[in-house]
Structures are given as structure tokens and as C-alpha cells.
């Protein structure tokens, strides 16, 4: 079993952080993982994406051109990547921010108003975590003990007070 996640949005939305969380969930679930960011002169406000592979087998290419799971948090990324999702794959779309539609019927699209949900629940800035929760649920990487361990690892010590809010966001996403 191999999951090839492509996460995309604007810099500052927590795309790389969400990718790191997925990678640590994979690592603590005993799988092979790789995390590859796009890097370039563009930073805050520019487009940003990252490739995360979680697999039972050793990972060849860490670069994902045809994701099995796509998470998008802005319209340019949606337009750019929705066509690249593997047939039978899934797309997780922040419908608060993405203005678009697709006629693809060979993939499963989850339109989740993640940014709206975050704002309504006092979780401003955690739309990325809400979407990640949904991804973990739908891909079966949803062992809560593993997820909590991964979350504790990726949240920097200085922000440890945000652990509960992140957990709340994850659960909100899982039930969305």
C-alpha cells in the first residue's frame, strides 16, 4: 500500500506543516515515508506545495507528479493539480477558499469548508489541520494513538499550548 499525497496552497497556510504531520503519522505507523517541499524564491503569500509519500515499501521517487490524494487550499493550485490526481484517487478541497469545479468522475472529491469551519470553531489558521484530519480518516491512517504522538512531535515546544486546539481541528476534520 502506497499513499502519494500532494498538498498545495499559499505559503503561510500550513501546507508544509500538514505534510510533516502526515509524514510523522506514517513514520509512527511503521511505514516508509518521504517529505519533499517545493522550494524557491517565492515564500509567504506565494504558491507552495509538498509531496508526502507513505508506503509499505521503500520509496523510489519522492517527487509526486500524480498524487493518489490531493489537498488544495487555493484556486490556482486546484486548477493546476486537479487533473493530475490518479484515477480512483481522492481530492480534499477547502471549499471556503477554492472557487472551481471539476468534471472528473473517476476521483472522489471532498468539498470541505475548512477555513469556514476553523473560523466558526475558534480554530483560526487551522484549516490545514481540519483537511488533514479528513485525509487521515479517508485513507485509514486514523489510529488516534499514532496521530496524537505525531502531533506532539511536529508542534514545536514553544507552541505546545496549541496541541489541544490542533487535536480539536483534526477531529473536526475527521467528522466533516
Amino acid at each position: 500500500m502506497t499513499n502519494e499525497f500532494l498538498l498545495a496552497g499559499f505559503g503561510g497556510q500550513g501546507i508544509l506543516f500538514a505534510g510533516k504531520l502526515l509524514a510523522y503519522v506514517g513514520l509512527y505507523a511503521g511505514k516508509e515515508v518521504s517529505w519533499l517541499p517545493s522550494y524557491g524564491p517565492e515564500m509567504r503569500g506565494g504558491t507552495c506545495n509538498c509531496s508526502v509519500t507513505v508506503s509499505d515499501d521503500p520509496i523510489g521517487s519522492p517527487l509526486i507528479l500524480e498524487p493518489s490524494e490531493l489537498m488544495v487550499m487555493n484556486t490556482p493550485s486546484f486548477d493546476k493539480f486537479i487533473g493530475t490526481v490518479k484515477a480512483g484517487g481522492m481530492a480534499f478541497i477547502d471549499s471556503t477558499l477554492v472557487d472551481g469545479k471539476t468534471d472528473r468522475t473517476d476521483i472522489k472529491c471532498f468539498w470541505i469548508p475548512a477555513t469556514g469551519l476553523a473560523n466558526e470553531n475558534g480554530l483560526k489558521g487551522m484549516a490545514n489541520i481540519i483537511l488533514t484530519g479528513k485525509i487521515l480518516k479517508e485513507t485509514g491512517l486514523d489510529d488516534m494513538a499514532v496521530i496524537e504522538k505525531a502531533l506532539a512531535k511536529v508542534i514545536p515546544p514553544k507552541k505546545a499550548n496549541l496541541l489541544d486546539a490542533n487535536l480539536k481541528a483534526l477531529k473536526l476534520g475527521m467528522d466533516a
Binding site: E32, V33, W35, Y39, G40, P41, G60, S61, P62
Partner: protein
Amino acid sequence: MAEKSLMKGNEALAEAAIRAGCKCFFGYPITPQTEISAYLSKRMPKVGGTFLQAESEVAAINMVYGCAGSGIRCMTSSSSPGISLKAEGISYIAGADLPCVIIDVVRGGPGLGGIQPSQADYWQITKGLAHGDFHVLVYAPASVQEMADMVAKAFDMADEYRMPAMILADGLLGQMMEPVEFPDVEIKMSDASNKPWAANGHKGERKHNIINSLYLQPQELEDKVVERFKRYEDLKANHTMAVADYCDDADIVVVAYGSTARLAKSAVDAARKEGLKVGMFRPVTLWPFPEKELREATKNAKKVLTVEMSMGQMIDDVKLAINCSKPVEFYGRTGGIIPAPADILNKIKEMGGNK
């Protein structure tokens, strides 16, 4: 052993350098290797070492020259244009027979080029790094774990053979995160205690040592160079490294190094799933090039395919190793474009990969 954690290739390399006894780092920032400097700027002072951001790449490599002369394990890192600037200093270090480790996290070129991954420095690093008759050891990791493992190896070999050792990585390996663990390494020769040549103060107890690369008497210089090349011959005979997968029955053997080997391996695995007889050969040392290992891996092959993130540079060494005894084709992308495994697979099929 400690639990594995995720680290960027650049950071894993930096941590491994400290664990290998590197006591001094001299650098100058450049994408995509800056995480090495950033990491060491935090860690080096905590282990009693020296981190120094020099005023330029040229200054940094000359600080390495001086530090290496005192017998202390030291390192510098840069990316392509910065390595060109360091070239003169590297030649002096080689000419003075000093050990050090130099990291090149390659980006697209020539000129300032771009900042995305590339392998277009192969010729420069393995053949024409700077003036004079000399080589440096070159290791090409293909994973974050290898970024860590090869630093320790590079320090040991540099000390043993008294020559610079380089790690040739690229932006992809430097920036990606993978699980990594740091085995307890036995540090050999990390200080000057067993380096009788070191210029580290003689306290009037021995004859002073001279570190120099200037020999005005031709015979003396020729003798020096010939002695150095004898060491190179020993390296060629005993210290090449390569990984071969499914080569025994392969009609086509794909040759690729570093991160490109990862991409090529994905294509080779896909080809095997379709029943195509394709093998994979990955040189781990680029100098010395694993010639005999490649000859062995390709002895039953009909064709060879070299894949690189350049216009084709390592392909020269592939042809030389097999003495052009069979066709060697090339597929590559350059300028920071990463070759897609699907495109490599297409090339394999175009070459007539048979079931």
C-alpha cells in the same frame, strides 16, 4: 538505538558531520545548501566547535586549508557557483595533501543558473575541479540516511588518504525529509594526535612541519604528484562503491546516481512489473568511478541507458568503463527540471526493453 526522526538531507548531513568529529565549519550562504550552515551555527558552539560564516566562499575554503593543516576535522559547504569560487583553494589543499570535507548541493547552471536540483557539476567535480594533476574523493548519496552516513565515511577516507573528500548532493536531497538515524560511529583521527604531519605547534619537541603546495624543482614536484597518484590507484582498486539491482538477466541496464537514481529506480521497478528485463546500477563513489562493478553489472546487457539531471556528463565515464562495448544511450533533463519516472520508462521502452 534512538527512535528515527524526520530530518532534511542538509540537516542530517550537518548533524552527522558533528558526530563524525568535525570541529570547525567555514561557510557562506547559498541556496539550496543553507540549512547546513544554519544547523551548524546552532549546534557547533554547543559541542565546543567553531562555526564561522566567512566573508566569501574564497575566504571559507582558505580557512579550511589552514584548519586542515593543523590536523582538525573541518568542513565547508556550498552550491555550484560557490564551489567554482572555492576551486583555487581546493587545488591548494589537494597540493598540500590535506584532508577535509567539502559539500556541493548542486543547483542548475551555468552562471548563477537556478536554485532547483541539478547534476550539472559532475564534470567539474570528478574531472576539472581546478588547476593541476589531482583528484578529490566524491560520494553521491541517494537518501537522507546516506547524506548522514557518507559524511562519516568521507571524513575517514579524507584522513586516511590525506586528500579532500566531497559529497555531491542536489537540492532535492538537501531539501527533502526522510527518517534518519545516527549510529554510534567510531571516530578515527578526529584530532591531530595521530597526524604526524600536522602543523599544530611543536613545543620545541620535534622538527617543525611545513604545509605547502609550492615545489619549484620539477623533479621534486613530479615525485610529489606521482606519489599522490599511487594513492589514487589504491583508491581505484579498493574503494569504489556501487549498488546493482536486477542486473543479472537485464537486457537494458539503467545507470544513474544520487537523487536521479531514486527516480530511475521507480522507472525500473515499473518496467519489471510489466515484465521488461531492466536492471539498475547506481554508482555511489563518482571518483573513483566504479568501473569494474559497472562492467560486471552490464556483462549480459545489450544496451545501457544513462539518466542524469544534466545534458549528459557521467555518460562519458559509463562509456569509458565498458570501453564502448555496447550502445550507451542518454535521457536527462536540466536547468532544475527533475526527470519524471514515467518519461524514463518511456525511454526504456523506446530502446526496445523486451519481456
